[in-house]
């Protein structure tokens, strides 16, 4: 069964929220609906589906990897080049801490960047169903539905006051 995508464009967020309600009332699962906007709205403003994310795991893993590399690097070099200074212990903890810290931060940010790209599904080569007015403050309600339910979705969007309804080509 082929799926299609529709986008209803709204200038008024109230109408966009109403469209989401109508679509849900008409049996469109919330997971198949998305909201495009030019700035973020407080979570749940449109009754939208909250996507599951694990972005916080990325910096955590990156920090652990960076810390481990820092530890191996500093301890390894001091053990490989054993320069005993004034009878002090071979492993010099304070400078090791600095190096481990900067490696931790480096690992954390590299993984965070990767996490942001992965979790937000970027980069996208094609914008798909989109309208340039969204970055001017319009709200786009995206409906992903089977071909035969497209007209019902269109009616719901129209009924909520969509200024324009776009349909995915091809």
């Amino acid at each position: 069964m082929a799926n299609t995508k529709l986008m209803g464009l709204f200038q008024d967020p109230e109408q966009a929220a109403g469209a989401m309600t109508k679509l849900k009332e008409n049996g469109f699962p919330v997971e198949d609906l998305d909201v495009y906007s030019g700035s973020p709205f407080p979570e749940g403003s449109f009754g939208e589906h909250e996507p599951e994310m694990r972005l916080f795991m990325f910096p955590l893993v990156g920090a652990l990897v960076g810390f481990a590399i820092g530890l191996l690097w500093t301890a390894g070099t001091q053990i490989s080049y054993p320069l005993v200074t004034g009878g002090k212990p071979l492993l010099s903890i304070p400078p090791m801490t600095i190096i481990m810290y900067e490696n931790t931060m480096l690992g954390a940010i590299i993984f965070t960047v990767l996490g942001v790209l992965f979790e937000s599904r970027l980069p996208r080569r094609k914008l798909g169903l989109y309208d340039e007015r969204i970055t001017e403050g319009y709200i786009g309600i995206i409906v992903d539905c089977p071909e035969e339910r497209a007209s019902a979705a269109e009616t719901a969007l129209q009924g909520a006051g969509a200024e324009e309804i776009k349909r995915e080509e091809g």
């Binding site: 998305d34 030019g38 973020p40 600095i98 931060m105 996490g115 942001v116 970055t135 403050g137 995206i142």
Partner: protein
């Protein structure tokens, strides 16, 4: 975009669309005035490169180390002001300060100066004497300290800054992609926007990602300032053992960041007609932390000074004479006035704080004071002939800048402003989406016989 309370009326506030059109209209404009400034700044930057080449031709030997003092002081000044500015937006975003919205992008765009900092760091590291036989925070692994560790530290800060700048700017890059006419510039912006469409998932990720990257910038900036002061100042002056100096320079960096932000906002109002965005509210709000950092400037300086004063060991006495009482007394006095006395006298007055000119004037003084203070700290350190002594002898004379030094200072500072101006034509200098979000959260309501602004919490 948010006026002072005395300007409140019941009239309609601007909308996201108004902001987008206004900001993108200015962003699109690449007039003669813009190119004129870019040309002047590029010329000054080239002069700085000439100064650098002159210094390079004189070499990096121990006898010539003093020649690099002003170069390193300039590097420290950039780290203390321009590169510190993203700390402001990161901190205010974490604190959810609503008034921050129009100014976050200005501070984040300055993260681009991290690239210049990393480039300048390399010759500065080469100019350092070997760590063998002198005080240093490093263990004596022959291939690492301090070069590799400093490059990793500074590089990490630059990388975080660029990640923060790019990530938070994605929605505005998309706006520019959508509304700029087709051109080479628009194609670059389109590529940088990575296909952003503003879906629910993307906004959630952007929100969390900006907080994470901001927190990392906040955590890494003190590290970089610690490396800077330890390797380029503390480790070069015999007898100097100051436990709080890393914290001192971090506080100085925060003060410099606020000062430079105020100065930048003032210049953008005057030269770029951004009065709508940088209003009294932003200046007033930033003047309060500026006053706090100015008091801390004195507290930290005094805490260090009094330790040496009571210590009175021969090495400590020489340090006080070099940095406070004799050779660099003039520099300290200028910095003392511009970074502490001036801000204290001016900013205790509410009418001064609650104005555009007052905080901007104090901020300009703070920036100048920061430059003079870096000269005091780093030029003095680089002019010490033998850092391996226990007691500094003889104390180096005051070192005044010569022509290459002046060229380097003017060139590097111009380079930072040039980078900011160039990046501001790729990434809009006012965050459209943050201002748009803020406008939606604000309503003006009648309250008894006046109007009051009601601000909703976004999360």
């Amino acid at each position: 975009m948010h006026n002072g309370e005395h300007e409140l009326t019941a009239g309609p506030l601007p909308t996201h669309q108004d902001v987008a059109r206004d900001v993108l209209g200015r962003f699109q404009d690449l007039g003669h005035r813009y190119w004129g400034w870019v040309t002047v700044l590029a010329f000054l930057f080239v002069l700085g490169i000439v100064g650098f080449i002159i210094r390079l031709s004189e070499g990096f030997s121990d006898e010539n180390r003093a020649n690099w003092g002003y170069f390193v002081a300039t590097l420290a000044f950039i780290v203390t002001t321009f590169t510190a500015m993203p700390v402001i937006s990161a901190g205010l975003r974490l604190a959810k300060a609503n008034w921050r919205r129009p100014l976050t992008r200005v501070t984040e765009n300055m993260a681009i100066t991290g690239l210049l900092v990393v480039l300048m760091l390399i010759p500065a590291l080469i100019a350092l004497p070997s760590i063998e036989g002198r005080l240093s925070i490093w263990f004596e692994f022959p291939l690492g300290a301090p070069g590799v560790w400093d490059v990793i530290g500074y590089g990490t800060l630059a990388f975080i800054g660029l990640a923060l700048l790019w990530g938070v700017a994605l929605p505005d890059l998309a706006a520019a992609r959508d509304h700029l006419p087709a051109s080479q510039r628009q194609r670059v912006i389109k590529w940088l926007s990575l296909g952003w469409v503003g879906g629910t998932r993307q906004w959630r990720v952007l929100y969390q990602g900006s907080l994470l990257a901001g927190a990392m910038y906040l955590l890494t900036y003190p590290l970089v300032q610690t490396l800077m002061i330890s390797d380029f100042h503390h480790g070069l002056i015999p007898g100097l053992k100051d436990a709080i100096i890393p914290a001192t320079v971090v506080v100085n960096g925060l003060q410099g960041a606020v000062g430079m932000t105020l100065l930048t906002m003032y210049l953008m109002r005057r030269l770029g007609n951004y009065e709508r965005y940088f209003s009294v509210e932003q200046f007033w709000a930033l003047s309060k932390p500026l006053l706090a950092f100015s008091l801390l400037w004195f507290y930290f300086w005094w805490a260090s000074f009094i330790t040496f004063w009571y210590g009175r060991q021969p090495g400590e006495s020489e340090v006080i004479r070099l940095l406070v009482l004799d050779e660099y007394r003039g520099a300290l006095m200028i910095s003392f006035f511009l970074n502490f006395i001036g801000p204290l006298i001016a900013l205790v007055w509410n009418p001064v704080r609650r104005s555009v000119w007052g905080p901007a004037l104090v901020g300009t003084g703070v920036v100048i004071g920061a430059l003079v203070n870096q000269v005091r700290l780093y030029v003095s350190a680089f002019s010490v002939a033998d850092p391996s002594q226990h007691v500094m002898h003889p104390r180096p004379a005051t070192q005044w800048p010569d022509a290459p030094d002046l060229l380097i200072m003017v060139g590097a500072i111009s380079g930072c402003v040039l980078l900011f101006m160039l990046v501001s034509k790729i990434i809009p200098v006012v965050s459209i989406w943050e201002v748009g979000e803020g406008l939606r959260l604000v309503k003006v309501r009648r309250y008894l016989n006046r109007y009051a602004r009601v601000i909703a919490k976004s999360h």
